[in-house]
C-alpha cells in the first residue's frame, strides 16, 4: 500500500482509467495514420466536433446510468425518457404557441422556460415512479424500468397525437420546432451540449466524491443490507439515483430536440439506454453496484464514440451500420480484460468442457464474416474477399483450438 499508517491518502488512479486514456490515444493515432485521408490530423476540428457532439449527448445519459448502476440498480428506460421529455417540452411549446402557428415561431421566453422546466420535471416524475416501484412495490429495477422503457415512448406518442389534435385539429406524429431560442441552441449546438455535459460531469463528480450522499450511494450499491444497518435511509438514496438517471435523460432529450429541430416520440433516441449503460460499464462501473467513477464514465463514453467514429472513417460507410456491433465488441472486450486477470490468476479456463468447445466455432465464424465484410474496402483484397474471410476464420479456429488443447493438457497434469 502506498499510504502510511494513520493516513488516508487519495486513491491511486485505477487501472481502468489509465487504460482508457491509453486506448483513446491509441485509437486516435492509429485511425489518423491508417485512414487514407488522415482526417483526424488534417481536419482535426471538424472531426472533433462530430465526436464531441455524440460524446456529450451520450455522456449526459451515461452519467445518469452510472449513478444508478453505482447505487446497485439499473435504468433501462433512458432512451424512452429522452423521447418523453423532448415530447413533453415540445407539447408545452405547442400550448404556448398560437394554434395557427404550427412551426412554433411565436413562443416567447415564458413558453421556452416552461417547456424546458416541464421536460426536466417529467424526468423527476418518472424517476420518482421508478423509485416507488423499486422500493415500495419491490419490483426488481430491471422490471420496473423495462416497463417504462416500453411504456413511456408509446405514452409520449399518444400524448403528442392527443394534444395536437385538440390544439391544431389534426393529430401529428411529430412536432417541428422553429422557436428562435431553440434555433439559437442548434447553431451553437456542440458547445452548448459539451458545456452542459462537462458541467454535469463536474457536478456529479462533486456529489459522488465529496458529499455524504455520494458516499451513501457507493455504500448502498456495495452492500445494501450493511448500508441499512448503518442507519442509511437506502430508499431515499435510491429515489435520488433514479431521479438523477431520468433527469439527465430529460436534459439530453431537450438538447436532442433542439439539435434536430423536431420532437419525434416514435424514433427519437431509440437504443440510447443500452449505449449509455455500455459506456458506464466500459468506464469501469460494475453492474454489481458500489464501483465506478465519473472520470471513468466520461472516458468510457469518449472511447466508445471515438471507436464508432473511427470505424466509419476506415470503412467509409455510415457509422450507424456498425454502431451496435462495435458497442457490443467494445463492452465484451472491456469487461473481458478485467476478467482475464482474475481468470488467469485463479487457474480458470477460457473453454472448459464441451460448452467451451462449442464456443470456438462460433467465434471463428464471427471472425471470418467480419474479416470478409471489412475487406470490401481494401484495394489489395478486391475479388478475394471470400477467400480472405475463410482464411481468417480457419486461423481463428486453429488458434482457439490450440488454446483449448493447452488448457486440457494443463488440467490433466495438475
Amino acid at each position: 500500500m502506498t499510504a502510511t499508517p494513520g493516513q488516508g491518502g487519495p486513491r491511486s488512479i485505477p487501472f481502468q482509467e489509465l487504460a482508457l486514456v491509453a486506448a483513446i490515444v491509441l485509437v486516435f493515432v492509429l485511425t489518423g495514420v491508417v485512414d487514407r485521408n488522415h482526417t483526424y490530423f488534417t481536419s482535426f476540428q471538424e472531426s472533433a466536433i462530430i465526436v464531441l457532439r455524440n460524446t456529450s449527448l451520450l455522456g449526459i445519459i451515461a452519467l445518469g446510468a452510472a449513478v444508478v448502476i453505482i447505487a446497485g440498480g439499473i435504468d433501462l428506460s433512458a432512451g424512452s425518457m429522452v423521447a418523453f421529455s423532448a415530447t413533453t417540452c415540445a407539447l408545452i411549446l405547442v400550448l404556448f404557441a398560437d394554434p395557427a402557428d404550427r412551426r412554433l415561431l411565436s413562443v416567447g421566453a415564458l413558453g421556452v422556460f416552461c417547456g424546458i422546466s416541464g421536460g426536466v420535471l417529467a424526468g423527476f416524475l418518472v424517476g420518482t415512479l421508478h423509485a416507488w416501484l423499486v422500493t415500495s412495490i419491490k419490483l426488481p429495477p430491471f422490471v420496473a424500468t423495462l416497463a417504462t422503457l416500453v411504456g413511456l415512448r408509446s405514452f409520449a406518442r399518444a400524448m403528442c397525437e392527443f394534444i395536437t389534435r385538440e390544439r391544431w385539429g389534426s393529430a401529428a406524429q411529430q412536432i417541428n420546432i422553429n422557436t428562435p431560442f431553440f434555433r439559437m441552441l442548434k447553431e451553437h449546438g456542440v458547445w452548448i451540449s459539451t458545456g452542459i455535459f462537462l458541467l454535469l460531469a463536474v457536478a456529479t463528480w462533486l456529489v459522488l466524491s465529496r458529499t455524504v450522499l455520494g458516499r451513501h450511494i457507493y455504500a448502498l450499491g456495495g452492500n445494501e443490507q450493511a448500508a441499512r444497518l448503518s442507519g442509511i435511509r437506502t430508499e431515499n438514496i435510491k429515489w435520488f439515483a433514479y431521479c438523477f438517471g431520468a433527469m439527465t435523460a430529460s436534459i439530453a432529450g431537450i438538447i436532442l430536440m433542439a439539435d434536430g429541430s423536431v420532437a419525434q416520440p416514435v424514433n427519437l433516441a431509440r437504443g440510447y439506454e443500452l449505449n449509455a449503460i455500455a459506456a458506464a460499464v466500459v468506464g469501469g462501473c460494475s453492474l454489481q453496484g458500489g464501483v465506478g467513477t465519473v472520470l471513468g464514465t466520461v472516458l468510457g463514453t469518449l472511447f466508445l464514440r471515438l471507436v464508432i467514429d473511427a470505424v466509419s472513417k476506415l470503412i467509409k460507410s455510415n457509422a450507424d451500420v456498425y454502431e451496435g456491433m462495435i458497442v457490443g465488441i467494445v463492452v465484451a472486450l472491456a469487461v473481458t480484460l478485467t476478467q482475464v486477470r482474475q481468470l488467469t490468476r485463479s487457474g480458470g479456463e477460457f473453454f472448459p468442457g464441451i460448452r467451451g468447445l462449442a464456443a470456438i466455432p462460433t467465434l471463428a465464424i464471427a471472425a471470418g464474416l467480419l474479416a470478409m465484410m471489412s475487406s470490401a474496402n481494401v484495394e489489395l483484397l478486391k475479388g478475394r474477399m471470400v477467400l480472405f474471410g475463410v482464411g481468417v476464420g480457419i486461423v481463428t479456429l486453429l488458434v482457439l483450438s490450440a488454446v483449448k488443447l493447452l488448457e486440457t493438457q494443463r488440467r490433466q497434469t495438475r
Partner: protein, 509 residues
Amino acid sequence: MDRLPPIIAIQSIAKAFPGVQALAGVSIDVLPGELHAICGENGAGKSTLMKILSGVIADYQGEMRLAGRPVRFRGTRDAEAAGISIIHQELNLVEQLSAAANIFLGREIRTWLGFRDDRAMDEAAGRLLRELECDISPRTLAGSLRIGDQQLIEIAKALSLQSDILIMDEPTSALTDAEVSRLYRVIERLRKRGVTILYISHKMDEVFHLSDRITILRDGKLVKTLVAKETNPREVTHLMVGREIEALDFGRERTAGEVLLRVENLSLPWPGHARGWRLKDVSLELRRGEVLGIAGLMGAGRTELLECLFGAASERPTGRIELLGRPVAFRHPREARDAGIGLVTEDRKRLGLFAAMNVGENISICTLRETGQAGFISRRRERNMAAATAERLAVKSAGLAAPITSLSGGNQQKCIIGRWLQTKPQVLLLDYPTRGVDVGAKAELYRLIDGLVRDGIGVILTSSELPELLTVCDRILVLAEGRLTANFARGEATEQKIMEAATQARPVL
C-alpha cells in the same frame, strides 16, 4: 451388536478452514442398523463431519471406510451412489416443482421414448409418501408445504435412492410437536428396514429417546462415544461443554448504573412457521456500565432480539422498549442510531463490511455528516476522526487507505465497532463479535468491551461460546426457541447450567 463390523468407519479425519481447525483427528465407528447421535455445541464440528460423510466437502485428511472398503466422495452424487443420504437443516427443495418432481430430481423416470414419465413418478412418490404417513398429494408444489412435510419429501427422496445410511441434521428444529412425533414414528419404521441413521442434535430429550449410541464432539475433537443406556443427559451436556475456562476475567469491580434499556414482553411474530414466533415475551433490563450476555443455540432468537432493539427486524415486534425511561419504537436503524444505539452484526461479511471501500471509509460511514457542512464531507476531518478511532482500538492495517478486505477478521471487527463508537452510543449491541476471530484478537476484543462499559455505556453481547460469555458478562440471559429460559448473575452461571437452559425441552403448552 458389538461383533458386527462397522458400516461406517471414520478414521482420524481432519479438516481445516482458513483460521479454524474444524475437525482434528476424529474417529467414529457406526454400526449397521443403529441410530447414532452426534452431539456438540455450535462450532464443535458436527456439520463439517456430516458434510464430509455426504460428499459436500471433498478435500480433507484421514480415511473413511464404508462396509470395510475405503471410500472418498468427490461430490454428493458419489455419496448417494454409495447409499448415503443427508437431510440438511436447511432443506434443499426446488419450491416451484411438485413433491414428486423433487423426489426424482436428477433421476427422472422416463418412458421408452425418452419423455419424462410424470405419472409413474407421481405414483412412486405417492407410495413413498404414504409409507411416511404423509398424506399430501405428490403433485403439490414443494414450496406450498409446511416444513414438516417438506422434510418428509427429503426423506422420501432418500428412500427412493435406496439409501441404507441416512444423516439427519437437527431435523426437529422447525417442527411442531405433532410433526415431531410423526418423525419419531418414521424413524422407527426406517430402522425396522435396517437403515442406519446418524442423528445430529443438541436436544437431550430427543437424543435419549431415539439413539443407541451417542458421540460427543467438542472444538473439532472427539470427546467420547457412549452407549445411550449407560449414560444420562447430565453427563452428555457436561462432556459437550466441559473445557477449561480461560483464566481471563474482565468483570472485576464494575458497578452498574441507571437503567439504560428496559424491554417488556417483546415478541416477534414468525408468519408461516409452525412455532409462530421468533421471540416470545422477552423481558430484560440493561444498566449503564454493564455487559449483558445472551446465550442460546443456533435459531434461539439471539440475532432477532438485537435486531428488534435496533429497529431492523423483518416484522414489527410487539411489546414495550424503553430507552432511558422513554418508550421507543424504531422503524429504521437510522432512528436507533440517532437515539444512541449501535449494532455490530454477526454476519460481518454480509451485513457489516463494505468490501469495495477502504478502512477509513468503513469506519466513518455512520458519522460522515459530522465531518463537514451542508452535506459535504471534509476529508481531512473524516480522516482525523477515523485515524483517532483506529488508534484507540489499535486496528492493525497498512493505513486508512488500505482495502478493508486486506485486514484480519479481528481487525475488521474492530473497524466496525469503531464505526459505532464514533456515533457515541449509549447502548452497543454486539452480535457474536468474536465469530471467526482468532484467540489473540478475542482477548483484545474482551479488553475493549471492558473498557467501553467502564466508560459508561451498556453492552449487550451474544456469543455461541459459553466461556466467552462467562468471562465478559455481568449477567447472562439464556434464550431457547425464542423464550428466555434463564437469567444468571455473574458467579452463579456455569457452562453446565447455561447449556441445560439452552437445550431445555420445548415448554409444555
